[in-house]
């Protein structure tokens, strides 16, 4: 067994031995050093694929050589109406170093529009029911020049509650309704600028989800669809993806969409912080010094200060591929690149899965990772990062490390507060919550105005976050939070707590047996485990 364990099966998989170094784990806005039991399989992110040397040239080449469509310049005519929609701040994570990739794509596309006499152009952020981006964030995303030219009349956030700005496209053959942004659909050409961080993103989801309204979204953002997605990071086996494709076809029947999709490598941190994603056994003296410096200066800071500092570190992602043209073939090409970067072949499931929860999620950019978001990161994103079969055996134990503080951002997540404190004590059943309360929250006039005029997530968004963890919740036997600073948050989420990781592992072993196979996802990681027997 030991020999088999120690055999190097993949460069991203390391087995803990008796002389292995302790591992760095995220713990909310902090990082901790933990000794992991001997025999534990630790999964690291794949090494980053080398970025393209000239991303502007790559984008220009893609729009001039599209897949199954005419080149962009041939689609542009003087006097036509063009809408350019783009992903919101939830992509990529953390926000990337400047210039943002969307800025580069926009510069290429806007140049081409100007050269072809197109001046009726609107830029719309496809935020769906996410919070609207702030003026500062919008400026950062597209750069000062474009911002000054288009904001606010021709550069704005999609509003899923503005009835007069939406148009109904009808229903799919499965009776899923679709109402989307009117300006985008009624334009002569809709150009979508995508950043495909994980396989769940992009494709038909960009328009059919990013620019839709609440009624359209609730048709697929619901517990049964999530249960039927095995996993939602594996599009062919994702019920969510199948529904979105049906909706996307409805979009294609009503609108000419030119997709520009991009894939990034996984260089999440700039030099200096890259030790957080590397194998600790291979640390040099300088790397150990870096860690010591971080642990001694960063960890003693107050949580808010640590959060501010973490959110100020831009990701060092590099473009590894860009394709343009028709939605589906373009997306297939991008998914190939995603898999090449992220996929890690893993042999055998585990009984105990350890995953630290970092302060990085699509929904807490520049705010706190509240308990509902901790739940979605654990049972949603981290659990679903697999293909073929889950990394954790059915009924296994998931151990996460996070303080689980009872803290919410009042400006960004107002409905989450009510969801957590009012609804969860009554029930954690996703179907019951959807049936009894989802519409009440969605139609709450205060939440709607906070979404429309402020920067709040839509009233129903907290529910979607709960459903997002549904297949994880059904699969995982127990969740243990190591280091939770209070008892009530884990309890309300239906989890157990332990003072530290050692205690959590002992608890997990008491459920799963002394010989339980332990695997640790070395967070933060963007990696997709392709699990085989």
């Amino acid at each position: 067994m030991a020999l088999q364990l120690r055999r190097k099966t993949h460069e991203s998989i390391v087995y803990i031995d008796k002389d292995s170094a302790p591992r760095i784990m995220p713990f909310g806005e902090d990082f901790i050093l933990e000794d992991i039991p001997i025999g534990t399989r630790v999964i690291y992110p794949n090494p980053p694929i080398k970025g393209l040397p000239n991303r502007e040239a790559a984008i220009r080449y893609a729009v001039n050589h599209p897949i199954e469509m005419e080149p962009l310049y041939a689609l542009l005519e003087p006097g036509m109406q063009v809408t350019i929609a783009m992903d919101d701040i939830s992509l990529p994570l953390p926000p990337m170093a400047l210039p943002d990739l969307r800025q580069t794509m926009l510069e290429v596309v806007l140049d081409m529009c100007a050269a072809n006499g197109v001046d009726d152009i609107h830029l719309i952020i496809a935020n769906s029911l996410h919070r609207k981006m702030t003026e500062w964030e919008m400026k950062r995303m597209v750069g000062t020049k474009i911002f000054d030219e288009f904001y606010p009349d021709r550069y704005y956030n999609h509003d899923a509650e503005a009835d007069d700005e939406l148009v109904t496209l009808g229903h799919t053959r499965h009776n899923e309704p679709l109402r989307v942004n009117k300006r985008a659909i009624e334009s002569d050409l809709l150009i979508y600028l995508n950043i495909n961080l994980v396989p769940m993103d992009g494709g038909h989801k960009s328009v059919a989800v990013g620019l839709c309204d609440y009624e359209s979204l609730r048709a697929h953002h619901e517990p049964q669809t999530i249960r039927d997605s095995d996993s939602y990071m594996d599009p062919p086996r994702s019920a969510l993806n199948h529904k979105v494709i049906r909706l996307g076809k409805l979009v294609d029947e009503n609108c000419k969409v030119f997709h520009i999709e991009t894939a990034l490598n996984n260089r999440m941190f700039p030099e200096g912080y890259d030790i957080l994603t590397r194998n600790e056994d291979e640390f040099s003296f300088a790397d150990r010094l870096k860690w010591e410096a971080m642990a001694r200066t960063f960890s003693p800071l107050p949580r808010v200060a640590r959060r501010k500092m973490l959110h100020a570190i831009p990701a060092a992602y590099e473009l590894i591929g860009c394709f343009a043209g028709k939605t589906e073939p373009v997306h297939d090409k991008i998914l190939e690149l995603n898999y090449r970067q992220y996929e890690i072949p893993v042999k055998g499931q585990c009984d105990i899965l350890i995953s630290g929860i970092p302060d990085i999620s699509p929904y807490n950019v520049y705010s706190a990772l509240n308990p509902i978001l901790v739940q979605v990161m654990a049972l949603g994103y981290h659990f679903n990062m697999y293909r073929n079969k889950p990394l954790l055996r059915k009924g296994g134990v998931m151990i996460i490390t996070h303080p689980c503080f009872d803290e919410f951002d009042h400006k960004f997540h107002p409905s989450y507060i009510e969801f957590f404190h009012r609804l969860l004590p009554e029930s954690r059943d996703a179907f019951y919550l959807r049936e009894k309360y989802e519409r009440e929250f969605a139609e709450n006039p205060a939440y709607i105005e906070m979404y429309r005029r402020g920067n709040a997530y839509h009233g129903a968004h907290a529910f979607f976050m709960w459903y997002w963890g549904e297949n994880g919740r059904q699969h995982v036997g127990k969740v243990i939070v190591a280091g939770a600073e209070n008892a009530h948050v884990p309890e309300m989420l239906g989890w157990e707590r332990a003072d530290n990781l050692t205690e959590a592992i002992a608890m997990a072993r008491s459920y799963m047996g002394r010989n339980a196979e332990i695997t640790m996802l070395h967070q933060p990681i963007i990696g997709l485990c392709n699990v085989s027997d």
Binding site: F408, H410, E443, N444, P445, A446, E449, R453, G454
Partner: protein, 224 residues
């Protein structure tokens, strides 16, 4: 309280749905007195009282109402009513927050009864209530004797706890479920009214209300 009743939305007016306050209305009427002398006298008097109004409002909304409405003493009822239309068109209508219309429309869409409780005078807001599509409203009423204001307000004076009491009675009478209802206000003086409904919302709140809203995890809204 009826648990099966309809939900309602109870709004404060000044600072919540419109940007003006009681002093704007008083200033408007001060500049529309009979003759130049009366106009100048009323305007200067209003201006001079501003700091006093500010201090009393900080101390207590009830005391503020007591002293504030004395400024109307001796003004004719006809004149006050006559200029109310101009007050609406030139002062109140432009002061409606952009988000007010959507908020009320959304409330109506989900079947909430729309009710305004305000310390303003009834004749000054009548047109505004129609314009906003409010179902019911309650406002303060000046006492008139022989067609002239005495400077006293007829009870109940709409402020602080009185608003909460009025809401309870209104809910009883109209089969309103307060747990499902909403209350919107910008001021800590409306804490009683906010506290008796299931969904209190602070709108463009003052500092103290903002702190309270944060402590109690209430929604904080900006309609501007």
């Amino acid at each position: 309280m009826n648990k099966n009743g309809q939900a309602a939305a109870f709004y404060d007016l000044e600072g919540t749905l419109v940007s003006t306050n009681l002093v704007h209305t008083l200033a408007f009427y001060s500049t529309r007195q009979q003759g130049l002398w009366q106009t100048a006298k009323a305007s200067v008097s209003t201006l001079a009282k501003l700091p006093f109004f500010g201090v009393t409002d900080l101390y207590s909304r009830n005391v503020f109402n007591e002293v504030f409405f004395r400024s109307y003493e001796g003004w004719s009822q006809d004149r006050l009513r006559y200029f109310s239309e101009e007050l609406f068109e030139n002062v109140l209508k432009p002061a409606v927050f952009p988000g007010t219309y959507d908020l009320i429309a959304q409330g109506k869409k989900v079947g909430h009864r729309q009710v305004v409780l305000t310390g303003a005078l009834d004749f000054t807001i009548d047109k505004l209530m129609g314009h906003l599509g409010i179902d019911d409203y309650v406002a303060n009423r000046l006492e008139f004797v022989n067609g002239y204001a005495t400077g006293r307000v007829l009870p109940p004076v709409m402020a602080s706890a009185t608003k909460a009491k009025w809401i309870r009675e209104y809910a009883e009478k109209n089969n309103i479920n307060l747990s499902e209802s909403y209350a919107y206000s910008d001021s800590i003086s409306d804490l009683p009214m906010l506290s008796i409904v299931g969904h209190p919302v602070a709108v463009c709140p003052d500092f103290r209300l903002k702190q309270t809203a944060r402590q109690h995890d209430w929604a904080v809204l900006d309609l501007r």
